[in-house]
Point group: C2
Chain length 342, copies 2
């Protein structure tokens, strides 16, 4: 098999210099039309594609962006966010032939991962996802000079452009929806408080209760996992006066919670109303179908990718606020049960 052609081969075949070929390739003005055609057909004839490595070396751009997944490996398959988010990224970057590099990292190695990413210059920029309270990464990437965009809310002052999708309106709608159904005792099963988005969802639940003039309800940690959601649900149902509705930080714990409640003999939604968050593909196929909150991770990925490209090219980008998440009402929420008493 012949060695793959280089720019020199094309130049020779077209009878021009390598510089000219390069100009044509990058369609820079100042090359005669006839020359352009000769170069193009020579390239065509040889099947030439410029070498990415060579380009990367001389331009200093790798034409790839990086996404670091910092999750316990066993939780990775659990969240429908990332696949959809990545699809959004791809849709944008593949238009210019750019690529997406995936790094997985254990929570502890995270800082080191970003250092390596910056040192290698294997990517032109990175996405910061799963932002946490006191997240070191925005400052880190600024210090490293690594272009980045934050996906979500950054709680500190930062130069890193931010692309956000507000979860809270959907959670508030959910709580209001439950209140309209007559619920007064609405509990919450939260994700890890370290995550900004988990805390903001929980806060939205608390705020909605307060706005309605209701006493602040019970919140238990569910860790965004099935097991955690199940445990929290058991704890809530074992109370002397259990809540009549539970809002969960995500669908995974909500589904587990539904199973626990049903095993305890409760009928849903007659005895207990349940709300999730994410609208995973299965949410419409639980029994009863899960009332939940829906964001648009794909559009989030698209917006984040656009912002990152802009940051890479112009040095910065404006913050973006996407359409907020919305409530999807299905069968797991219903009127508050009539209780004996009072």
């Amino acid at each position: 098999m012949a060695r793959r052609p280089t720019i020199a081969d094309v130049a020779q075949l077209a009878g021009v210099s390598r510089a000219t070929v390069s100009f044509v390739l990058n369609n820079r003005p100042g090359v005669a039309l006839t020359t352009q055609q000769r170069v193009r057909s020579a390239a065509e004839e040889l099947g030439w594609t410029p070498s990415r490595s060579a380009r990367a070396l001389s331009t200093g751009r790798t034409r790839a962006v990086g996404l670091v997944l910092t999750r316990e490996p066993e939780l990775i398959g659990t969240d429908p966010f990332y696949p959809a988010f990545m699809a959004g990224i791809e849709a944008v970057i593949s238009e210019t032939g750019d690529g997406l590099m995936l790094q997985m990292s254990r929570p502890g190695d995270e800082v080191e991962t970003y250092h390596r990413l910056a040192a290698d210059r294997r990517v032109d920029g990175v996405f910061l996802t799963d932002l946490r309270q006191d997240d070191p990464r925005p400052a880190l990437v600024t210090e490293l000079g690594l272009p980045a965009v934050a996906v979500g809310v950054v709680e500190a002052d930062t130069d890193v452009p931010t692309v956000n999708l507000d979860d809270r309106p959907a959670v508030r709608s959910a709580v209001r929806h439950l209140i309209e159904l007559g619920h007064r005792d609405i509990a919450y099963v939260a994700g890890p408080d370290g995550f900004v988005h988990a805390r903001r969802r929980r806060q939205a639940w608390a705020d909605a209760l307060a706005e309605a003039g209701l006493p602040c309800g019970t919140s238990l940690p569910g860790g965004f996992t099935a097991e955690g959601g199940a445990q929290a649900t058991r704890a809530l149902l074992n109370r002397s006066s259990p809540p009549t509705a539970i809002v969960y930080g995500n669908d995974l714990s909500a589904t587990a919670g539904m199973a626990v409640a049903q095993n305890a003999g409760l009928r849903l939604p007659e005895d207990l109303s349940v709300v999730g968050f994410d609208d995973v593909p299965l949410a419409s196929w639980t029994s009863p179908p899960l009332t939940t909150c829906r964001a648009n991770p794909t559009s989030w990925g698209r917006a984040a990718a656009q912002a990152l490209v802009e940051t890479i090219e112009q040095g910065t980008a404006g913050d973006v606020e996407l359409d907020p998440a919305t409530l999807v009402i299905r069968g797991s929420t219903g009127p508050v049960p009539v209780r004996g008493g009072r």
Copy 2:
């Protein structure tokens, strides 16, 4: 901010030539120990890391592998296989500092995607997943000279090393398990026949029935989707004599099927037994918990990555056969209902 240091800076500081620095970096024999130390401390002092682009250009290796996801975007978040599989890949390649490039491609653009991948030489090799009947890719990558490993079974003759995990034993176990419970009419809801693994799972169901001397059962397409699983289930339950058990091609359609059955007033498993495939995180949290088949996608990813690295470095690698999938019995399967008659 100062320009990042190059090998020349290190060489100068250490008082040696660039060649020597390069030798030390790649710990090649033949450099005096004291020189090595001087070079290393010079590199340390300057915080030097070799440029990946430069290395890629001169060595011809990018130190990255590619994974092409050919799925309809809306199905991407649906399958727990990929996240776990990628985690396995990462575990292997990150040991040597290699990276994983993700490409998403629409089913139609697939061949073009591989052409681009090969032309760009942005990756040193690729994984071929979701293998199909008459899949053009094994021949394509061979022709393109792009190192690759096939993840699953390739039905044609090919030089591409194969890493397989047999789904069939688990499906057979499932059918035998149902037969032991007294079921005689066991239907199947299949994934798209175009996928080799979907067809093999279905075949395993058919074989197990035949082995037990039972007549061949009914198989309906479910497309590996929730909606498809639901439709197939409706169709099966509407028959004059519906099956007493249904085996599904994956958990997604199984869960949807369960919902359909329950909505139709059937109790599970008393009136109908259900088996899925994948053991998604939610499978233990449906009501009843889903009996399903479990493979190990992470170990699959690890093995595939090892084989790919070997293929890249030695030109080829041996085929690998992993531990087969196994049956996980939960609450969605039970004794066949006693019917009136006969």
